[in-house]
C-alpha cells in the first residue's frame, strides 16, 4: 500500500552547465496539502515538470502515486496539473478549451460544465479565452486540472492574478479537495496563503531542498523573534543597528524591526532604545510566520 503521493530521491536537472535542480529528496504523504515554496528560479517549476514527465531528469528517481516518473502514462490519468500558469487556445471559448482536454483524456463531456461552475465560470464558458481576465484564465486552468477527478493535484502559482475573494475561494477549494482525499501539491509566492492551508512544506532554494516535512516541525524549530516598532518611523533603522551591533540579525519589514534574538534580550533592547532617545511603540516576542521562517532559512529578504 503506497502512502506517499510524491517521493523524490536524488533528483537533478542540468541545463548545459547550470544545475537547475540539485539532488533533491522529499516525500509528500497522501491526502495532504503540501506547499512548495522557493524564490523565483529556485527550481520549483522544473521539479514539477520532471514529475509530470515533461522533462527528463538528469539524475535520480521519482515516484508519483507509486509509479515511476519514467512512465507518466501509468499515473497521469489520476493527476491534475497546472504548470507555469494557464495555457489555452485564445480563439476557443473556455468551454471548448476544456472539451479539447476532456476529449484528449477520455473524460466525460458533462464534467466540463460542472467544473466551469465549480470555479465560477459557469456563465462565461462560451466566451473566448482571449477575452478572459487573468483571474478568469487562472480559474479555467484550475478547472482543467480538476478534469480527471485527480488523486493528486499539482498547481503552480494558482492564485496569481486572483482578487482576495478569488484567493479565498481557491484556498477553500484546495482544502475541500484535501478533505475528500486528494493530495494537493501547490507552489505559491503567497506564503501566508500556504501557511493557512498546508500540512506539509517543501522549501527550495537555488535548486536545493532547504526543508521538507510537516509544517509544525518547521515552525516549532524556529526561535521566536522580537518585533519592535518605534513612535518615529525614522528610528527603525537605528533600532536595527543596535540589534546588529549586539550580534542579532534584524530586518525592517512592515513598519517594524524583526529581530532574531532570544526573548530575554528584549529588556536590553528597551534600555538601549531609551538611552538613545528612541520611544518604542511596541516591543513584543512573536513566533515567526512561514514567510519569516522562509526568509530566515533561505537568507533572502
Amino acid at each position: 500500500m503506497v502512502n506517499t503521493a510524491i517521493s523524490v530521491s536524488d533528483l537533478s536537472k542540468k541545463y548545459d552547465d547550470r544545475l537547475a535542480v540539485s539532488h533533491i529528496n522529499f516525500e509528500v504523504p497522501l491526502g495532504t496539502v503540501c506547499g512548495f515554496v522557493g524564490p523565483n528560479g529556485s527550481g520549483k517549476t522544473t521539479t514539477m515538470r520532471m514529475l509530470l514527465g515533461l522533462i527528463t531528469p538528469t539524475t535520480g528517481q521519482g515516484h508519483i502515486l507509486g509509479e515511476p516518473i519514467e512512465h507518466p502514462e501509468k499515473y497521469l490519468s489520476r493527476v491534475g496539473a497546472m504548470i507555469e500558469g494557464p495555457a489555452f487556445y485564445p480563439a476557443l471559448s473556455g468551454h471548448e478549451n476544456l472539451m479539447v482536454l476532456a476529449r484528449l483524456g477520455g473524460f466525460p463531456a458533462e464534467r466540463v460544465q460542472t467544473l466551469l461552475e465549480k470555479v465560477g465560470l459557469g456563465d462565461r464558458g462560451k466566451s473566448k479565452y482571449k477575452t478572459y481576465s487573468l483571474g478568469m484564465k487562472q480559474r479555467l486552468g484550475i478547472a482543467a486540472a480538476l478534469l480527471p477527478e485527480p488523486k493528486l493535484l499539482m498547481l503552480d502559482e494558482p492564485t496569481n492574478g486572483l482578487d482576495p475573494e478569488g484567493i479565498q475561494e481557491v484556498r477553500a477549494l484546495l482544502r475541500d479537495l484535501a478533505n475528500d482525499g486528494t493530495t494537493v501539491f501547490v507552489s505559491s509566492h503567497l506564503l501566508s496563503e500556504l501557511e493557512i492551508i498546508s500540512d506539509h512544506i517543501v522549501m527550495l532554494r537555488k535548486g536545493e531542498i532547504v526543508f521538507a516535512g510537516p509544517i509544525e516541525d518547521l515552525m516549532t524549530k524556529q526561535q521566536p523573534i522580537i518585533i519592535a516598532k518605534t513612535l518615529n518611523h525614522a528610528d527603525l533603522s537605528h533600532i536595527a543597528e543596535i540589534a546588529e551591533k549586539s550580534g542579532h540579525h534584524a530586518v525592517i519589514r512592515d513598519d517594524a524591526v524583526h529581530i532574531s534574538a532570544p526573548i530575554e534580550w528584549a529588556p536590553t533592547l528597551n534600555r538601549a532604545a531609551f538611552d538613545a532617545g528612541i520611544t518604542l511603540a511596541q516591543l513584543a516576542p512573536q513566533l515567526p510566520n512561514l514567510e519569516e521562517t522562509f526568509f530566515e532559512m533561505t537568507g533572502d529578504k
Binding site: R49, L52, E84, E96
Partner: protein, 263 residues
C-alpha cells in the same frame, strides 16, 4: 488515438480557421480554373509560367481536371501553413504541456494531430475539386471547349487519379509544414520560412537553372499534383518528394519524442 484525433478536430473546426481556409480554397480553385478558360487566347498563356493549354488539350478526357491539378500546388501551400500553425502554436501558447499531461504518449499526440490535419486537408481538396471542375464545366462551352470526354469512363479515371495525386501532394506539403512547426516552434517562423522557400527561393532557382526542378522539394510535390511534367516524370517526383517528406518527418518525430517541454 481516436480521442487525440477528436480533440484536434475540435480545434480545426473553429469558424475562423475552417471557414477562412475553405473560403481561400474556393476562391483560388475557382480563379485558377477560370483563368484557364478566360485567358485561353491570351499571348501570355493561360497556365503556370506562361504555358499555353490549348482548346484541344482541354477537350481531352483529362481536360476537366486541368484546373484542379494546377491549383494543387497552391492547396499545398495552404496545407503547409495550416499544418505548421497548428503544430507550432502548441509551443507558443504553451498548450503542449496540457496535451502531454492529458495524453503522455507523444507519438499518439503526433499521429493524432497528423491524421486530424489530413482529414482537414481532405475536406479542402474535395471543396477544391468540386469548385475547379464545376467552374470548368460552366466556362468551357463559353470558349468552345468540348466537355464530351470529361465524364467518359476515361475522364472519370482522370478525376480519381488527379484527386489522388493532389491529395498526396497536399499531404506532403502539410507534413513539411508540420516538420517546420516542430523544428522552429513558432507559427510565424515556420510559415514564413516555408512560404518564402516554396514561392520565392525555389521559383528563383528554377528560373535560373531549370534542372533544379528535378530535385527541389516543393517542385517535386507540385509535379506530383499535376501527374508529372515534361522534365520530371511522375515516379521520379514521387520518389524524391517522398524521400524529403520521410526524412523530415523522421527527424522531427525523433526531436518531438525526445525534446524536453520546457516552455
Amino acid at each position: 488515438m481516436l480521442d487525440v484525433i477528436r480533440a484536434e478536430l475540435r480545434k480545426l473546426r473553429r469558424p475562423t480557421l475552417f471557414l477562412g481556409t475553405m473560403g481561400a480554397v474556393v476562391f483560388f480553385s475557382g480563379l485558377f480554373s477560370a483563368l484557364l478558360y478566360l485567358l485561353i487566347d491570351s499571348p501570355q498563356g493561360n497556365a503556370d509560367r506562361g504555358q499555353v493549354i490549348s482548346r484541344e488539350v482541354l477537350a481531352l478526357a483529362s481536360g476537366g481536371v486541368q484546373g484542379f491539378a494546377n491549383v494543387g500546388g497552391f492547396l499545398g501551400i495552404i496545407a503547409l501553413c495550416v499544418f505548421a500553425a497548428q503544430t507550432a502554436q502548441e509551443y507558443t501558447y504553451g498548450t503542449l504541456r496540457n496535451l502531454l499531461v492529458r495524453q503522455p504518449s507523444r507519438m499518439k499526440i503526433l499521429l493524432g494531430k497528423l491524421i486530424a490535419m489530413k482529414l482537414f486537408a481532405l475536406i479542402m481538396i474535395i471543396f477544391s475539386a468540386i469548385i475547379s471542375i464545376g467552374t470548368s464545366v460552366v466556362l468551357a462551352p463559353t470558349v468552345d471547349v468540348s466537355t464530351d470526354l470529361w465524364f467518359s469512363s476515361e475522364g472519370i479515371e482522370f478525376i480519381y487519379t488527379t484527386f489522388l495525386n493532389v491529395t498526396i501532394s497536399v499531404v506532403g506539403f502539410g507534413i513539411i509544414g508540420m516538420v517546420l512547426g516542430l523544428l522552429l516552434r513558432s507559427p510565424i517562423s515556420a510559415i514564413s520560412f516555408g512560404v518564402l522557400w516554396l514561392l520565392i527561393v525555389e521559383n528563383l532557382l528554377v528560373a535560373v537553372e531549370n534542372s533544379t526542378q528535378s530535385w527541389l522539394p516543393g517542385s517535386q510535390l507540385t509535379i506530383i499534383a499535376t501527374g508529372g511534367s515534361a522534365d520530371v516524370p511522375y515516379t521520379q517526383a514521387l520518389a524524391t518528394g517522398g524521400a524529403y517528406v520521410a526524412v523530415g518527418a523522421l527527424v522531427a518525430s525523433i526531436l518531438f519524442l525526445r525534446r524536453d517541454v520546457a516552455n
